[in-house]
C-alpha cells in the first residue's frame, strides 16, 4: 500500500491538500455538530416543542453538572489520562455539603470546603499517578472506591438541604426573553424563557477552561503532555506540575459539579451520579477529544454533553422509550466516534 504512494511522483499534493487538512482538524467537531443537528431535527419532527427555546435551555440546566464534569475530564483526557472517580467525588461533594449544612454551617463556608475536598482528592490522585507511576485508570478507580465509600460512611440515605442559599439557587430563574406562542385556536400565551444560575456557573467554568487551554502556557503544556510525555520533558516543560494539576482540576470540577447537583436536587445523595464518569467520558469522546490525548477542544465536550442530553430528552418526550435503549444509543454513539477517531488518525499518518 505504501509503495503506491512512494512511487507516484507527488510533490503537488501537499499544496493542494493544505486547505483540506486545515478543515480536517475540525472534522471531528463537524461530525458532532452535524449529528446534534440531525438529532434535534428528528426530535422536532417526532415531538412537538422539542426544539422550543425553553426545551433547548433545559438541555443546559438539566446537565449543568455534567458540563462541569466533562470540562474537568477534558483536561485529564487531553494529557492522555482518564479519571474514573468524578461521579463518586461529585456524590461525595453533595453529601459533604448536605451534612455540613444540616449541622448549621453557613453556605459561604460549605462551598469552599466541598471544593477543597474535591480538589484535594484530585491532588492526591495526581501525586499517586505521577510519583508512584500508577496507571491513571487504577489510581482513579481506587479514588472512586474511596469517595463512594466515604459517602456511605457519612450517610447511607439521601439528606434534604433546607439551607436558604441552596434553596434560592434551586428555584432561581434567570429570565432571558419573553416567548409568544399561539396555539391552534388562536390564543396567544406569553411565557418567560429562563435559565438557571447553575447553567451560568457551568458556562463560566467552560469559558475559563477554554481560555486556560488555548491562551496560557499551562494549556499548551497540557496538549504537549498528551502528545508525548518524554518529548514534553525534553522541551523543558514541567510534566510533574501539569500532571498533578490536571487531576486536581478534575477533582475541583467534580466538587463543583457536586455543588451544582445539590442545587439541582436540593439534597445530598450518597448514590448520586453512579455511572456519571462514563457519561463524562462519553461526552468528551463524542465532543471529538482524542482518548489517546493531545488533540481536542473543550467546547466539543459541551457539544458532547448536549448530544447526551438530547438522547435523554428523547426518552423524556417519549414515555414508551426504554431506559435501556438510551444506554445502547450512548454506547453506539461513543463507538461511532471512537472508530471515526481511528480512521482520522490513521489518515493523518
Amino acid at each position: 500500500m505504501t509503495t503506491v504512494v512512494q512511487d507516484s511522483p507527488a510533490p503537488a499534493p501537499p499544496k493542494k491538500r493544505r486547505p483540506l487538512s486545515r478543515f480536517q482538524q475540525y472534522s471531528q467537531i463537524g461530525a458532532t455538530v452535524v449529528l446534534l443537528a440531525i438529532m434535534l431535527v428528528v426530535g422536532a419532527t417526532l415531538y412537538p416543542n422539542f426544539t422550543s427555546g425553553q426545551a433547548l435551555l433545559d438541555l443546559f440546566s438539566k446537565n449543568s453538572f455534567l458540563i462541569v464534569l466533562a470540562v474537568g475530564m477534558t483536561f485529564v483526557i487531553l494529557t492522555g489520562g482518564i479519571d474514573l472517580s468524578v461521579g463518586a467525588v461529585m456524590a461525595l461533594g453533595t453529601v459533604v455539603a448536605a451534612t455540613l449544612l444540616q449541622q448549621g454551617w453557613p453556605a459561604p463556608v460549605v462551598i469552599p470546603v466541598v471544593l477543597v475536598v474535591g480538589g484535594g482528592l484530585g491532588f492526591a490522585v495526581g501525586m499517586m499517578i505521577h510519583h508512584f507511576k500508577i496507571q491513571p485508570f487504577i489510581a482513579t478507580l481506587a479514588a472512586m472506591f474511596l469517595a463512594r465509600g466515604l459517602c456511605l460512611v457519612i450517610t447511607d440515605r439521601s439528606i434534604a438541604i433546607d439551607n436558604g442559599f441552596f434553596q434560592t439557587m434551586n428555584q432561581a430563574h434567570v429570565d432571558l426573553w419573553e416567548a409568544t406562542t399561539t396555539n391552534a385556536r388562536g390564543r396567544t400565551r406569553v411565557t418567560e424563557v429562563y435559565t438557571t444560575p447553575a447553567v451560568l456557573i457551568a458556562l463560566g467554568v467552560l469559558v475559563i477552561a477554554f481560555v486556560v487551554l488555548h491562551y496560557t502556557r499551562f494549556g499548551r503544556t497540557v496538549y504537549a503532555l498528551g502528545g508525548g510525555e518524554s518529548s514534553t520533558n525534553l522541551m523543558g516543560l514541567s510534566v510533574a506540575r501539569t500532571k498533578v494539576a490536571v487531576y486536581t482540576i478534575s477533582g475541583l470540577c467534580a466538587g463543583l459539579a457536586g455543588i451544582l447537583f445539590s442545587f439541582y436536587t436540593a439534597s445530598g445523595d450518597p448514590v448520586a451520579g453512579i455511572g456519571y464518569e462514563l457519561n463524562a467520558i462519553a461526552a468528551v469522546v463524542i465532543g471529538g477529544t482524542l482518548l489517546a490525548g493531545g488533540s481536542g477542544y473543550v467546547l466539543g465536550s459541551l457539544l458532547g454533553v448536549l448530544t447526551l442530553g438530547v438522547i435523554y430528552a428523547y426518552k423524556e418526550f417519549d414515555g414508551d422509550l426504554n431506559t435501556g435503549w438510551t444506554r445502547v444509543m450512548i454506547g453506539v454513539l461513543v463507538l461511532f466516534f471512537i472508530v471515526l477517531q481511528r480512521v482520522l488518525v490513521a489518515r493523518r499518518r
Binding site: 465509600g149 482518548l291 431506559t323 444506554r327 445502547v328 461513543v334
Partner: protein, 385 residues
C-alpha cells in the same frame, strides 16, 4: 528461606492467612463446617461459594491483563447473560425442565462469547485501546440487558436445575465452587502445560514483536477476550441463579473492579506480559474474606473505603519508585545491606502490616457515623446474598 520470600505468592498468601485469623478472632465459629442434609455448611464454605463468580471473572481478567489489555465490560456481560437466561426460563412453560435450563444456559453463554468476540474485534482488528473498546460494551451492555428484560426485575424461581448453578450442591459441595474449580483447572492446564501461556505473555510484552516472531497475536487477543466474556457470562448465571432474581441494573455491578483488584493483589502486573493464576485465586479469596471480615467486625458501610485503602497500598507497593524509596530507607538504617532482594521483602512489611492496621483506622472514622443508624445494609450488601 530466601527462595520462599522470593516467591511472589508468599505475601498475598500471608495476607489471606492473616485475614482468616482475623476472621476467626472476630467470630470463633469461623472455621466450623457442619453437614446438613448431606451438604456442607459454614462460613468458609459460604465464602468459597460467594467467591466463585469473582474467581471466574478474575480468571478471564488475568489473561486479558496478561496481554496488556483490560476488560471493563465483564459486569455488563454478566448482566446480559444472567437476564437472558432468567427471561427464557420464566417465559418457558415448564420452569423445572432440565432441557429448558440447558438451552437457557447454552444461549446465554453463546451471547457472552459473542460479547467477548466483539471486544476482541475492537481491540485486535480495529486497534482501539482496550479501556476504551470495552467501555462501549460497559455502557451499552447494561442497556441491552434492560432491553432484554423490559426494564423489569425477574425472579427465575422454582427452577431447581437453574438454582443448582449458583446455589445448589453436588456431592455435598456447592456446585458453583466445582464449576469455578473446573474452569480454573482447565485454564491452568491450557496455559501452563501448553505454549498458550507463553504466547499470551509474549503478546503482552510486545504485540508487534511477537507478531514478527510468528505469534498470531491477533487471534491470541481474540481468544483472551472471548474467554473473559465466557467467564463473565458464567458468573452472571451464577449470580442470578444464587439470588433467584435478575435486576439488569445490579447483576455483577462493579464486579469488574473486584476482579481487577483480585488480579492486582495476586501480583499480576497491569503492564502485562506476566500473569499468575494462583495469585488471582488468592486475590479473589482475599477480597471475599475481606468483605466477610468487614461485615462481621467493622461495618458493611466501610467496605469500599477499606477496599480503596488496600488497592492504594498494594499499588504503591508494586511501583518501583516506592520500592526503591523504601529500600533506600532500609539500606540507610542497616548501612550497607545487600540489595539482592529488593522487591519482595519490601512489599511484605506494608502489605501484611496494612491489613490489620487499616480496619482500625477506618473503624475509627466510621464509628461516630455508624452507631446512630440501625439499618446497616446499603448498596454494599447486595452482592453478598
Amino acid at each position: 528461606m530466601k527462595k520462599l520470600t522470593a516467591n511472589r505468592l508468599v505475601w498475598p498468601a500471608l495476607v489471606l492467612v492473616a485475614l482468616l485469623v482475623a476472621n476467626f478472632v472476630a467470630n470463633n465459629s469461623f472455621f466450623s463446617v457442619t453437614v446438613l442434609d448431606g451438604n456442607l455448611f459454614g462460613p468458609v464454605v459460604d465464602i468459597l461459594r460467594r467467591a466463585a463468580p469473582i474467581i471466574l471473572v478474575a480468571l478471564g481478567m488475568t489473561l486479558v491483563i496478561a496481554t496488556r489489555g483490560i476488560d471493563l465490560s465483564v459486569g455488563a456481560v454478566a448482566a446480559i447473560s444472567g437476564s437472558w437466561a432468567s427471561m427464557y426460563i420464566i417465559d418457558s412453560g415448564d420452569r423445572g425442565s432440565v432441557t429448558v435450563v440447558l438451552t437457557a444456559v447454552g444461549v446465554a453463554l453463546l451471547m457472552a462469547v459473542v460479547a467477548g468476540a466483539w471486544n476482541g474485534f475492537l481491540v485486535s482488528v480495529l486497534g482501539i485501546q482496550p479501556i476504551v473498546a470495552t467501555l462501549v460494551l460497559m455502557t451499552a451492555g447494561r442497556g441491552l440487558a434492560q432491553v432484554i428484560t423490559g426494564e423489569k426485575i425477574l425472579y427465575p424461581d422454582n427452577s431447581p436445575a437453574y438454582k443448582l448453578i449458583g446455589g445448589g450442591y453436588w456431592l455435598s459441595v456447592p456446585f458453583s465452587i466445582l464449576i469455578a474449580g473446573a474452569i480454573f483447572g482447565i485454564t491452568a492446564l491450557l496455559t501452563r502445560r501448553t505454549a498458550l501461556g507463553t504466547l499470551i505473555e509474549s503478546v503482552g510484552v510486545n504485540p508487534e514483536a511477537s507478531r514478527l516472531a510468528g505469534v498470531q497475536s491477533r487471534s491470541i487477543t481474540w481468544i483472551v477476550y472471548i474467554f473473559a466474556g465466557l467467564c463473565a457470562g458464567l458468573a452472571g448465571l451464577m449470580l442470578t441463579s444464587n439470588s433467584t432474581s435478575a435486576d439488569p441494573n445490579s447483576i455483577g455491578l462493579f464486579i469488574e473492579l473486584d476482579a481487577i483488584l483480585a488480579v492486582v493483589i495476586g501480583g499480576t502486573s497491569l503492564a502485562g506480559g506476566r500473569f499468575s493464576l494462583a495469585g488471582t485465586l488468592i486475590g479473589a479469596f482475599i477480597i471475599e474474606t475481606m468483605d466477610n471480615f468487614i461485615v462481621i467486625a467493622v461495618s458493611p458501610r466501610t467496605t469500599d473505603v477499606f477496599k480503596a485503602c488496600v488497592v492504594i497500598v498494594v499499588c504503591i507497593m508494586q511501583s518501583p519508585q516506592a520500592r526503591a524509596w523504601i529500600a533506600g530507607l532500609f539500606r540507610r538504617g542497616r548501612s550497607g545491606g545487600g540489595d539482592t532482594s529488593t522487591g519482595s521483602p519490601v512489599t511484605a512489611t506494608p502489605l501484611s502490616g496494612s491489613s490489620p492496621a487499616t480496619p482500625g483506622t477506618t473503624a475509627g472514622a466510621a464509628a461516630p457515623a455508624v452507631t446512630p443508624t440501625p439499618t446497616l445494609t446499603p448498596t454494599t450488601g447486595t452482592r453478598t446474598s
